[in-house]
Symmetry: C2
Subunit: 125 residues, 2 copies
């Protein structure tokens, strides 16, 4: 039987490349997004907004102990990535709502699975 | 039909508590572990060591652009969490190997799923 032809046009996945010992360029777009989604506050924003819409103050209370500045910066980054949608309603006083885009809901599902896995496993210390 | 009795003894999951607007104590053990597993280098260590054993230098090359100091610190934290196993072989020159514990393999599976999801989805910019 003939040997299967190599398929050099199928790139290995992100995690396979790391496992193969491939040096990951820190500017690799997927690595940049991974950094944003797994940032200290990014993770909690994703979990908090899953299936919900919240105002800035509500979100800040959900997450706990995040400064206004850090939360605002996290939301700006995730908005630029297409993960978070920011909606400013034309009212006085200003009313701004945050929710996840469909893409963001997908990311939140994966991050939520990790968080729930942690809680369901016993850790030493 | 009788109404089902409330079940106050079943605590909601980590992600449910955040979504319910529960203020998460930053010292909550699950939140601390989540911080470690999703740290900038923790994520890449988990992916790189999944199903493998590597020496410090190999691991450093797999990940790319991590300083020795940051990688050593990340490995110490993950070892204390029971995620990474450090094995020093009694030879000269010293030979130290790192691998994931069974618990670490579980965490790496969840983190790898997030990384692969990122790569399989299109992001703006």
């Amino acid at each position: 039987m003939p040997t299967p032809a190599p398929t050099p046009d199928i790139a290995p996945s992100f995690s396979t490349r790391v496992r193969l010992g491939d040096v990951l360029d820190p500017n690799c777009p997927s690595r940049v997004i991974l950094d944003h989604l797994t940032s200290k506050w990014g993770v909690l924003v994703l979990i908090a907004l899953r299936g919900r819409t919240e105002r800035f103050g509500e979100l800040r209370r959900s997450i706990g102990m995040v400064s206004e500045r850090m939360l605002a910066q996290t939301l700006r980054v995730l908005e630029a990535d297409g993960i978070v949608e920011r909606k400013a309603l034309p009212v006085v006083p200003p009313h701004v709502e945050y929710s996840l885009t469909p893409l963001g809901e997908g990311a939140a599902e994966k991050v939520g699975a990790l968080a729930d896995w942690i809680e369901n496993n016993r850790f030493p210390s």
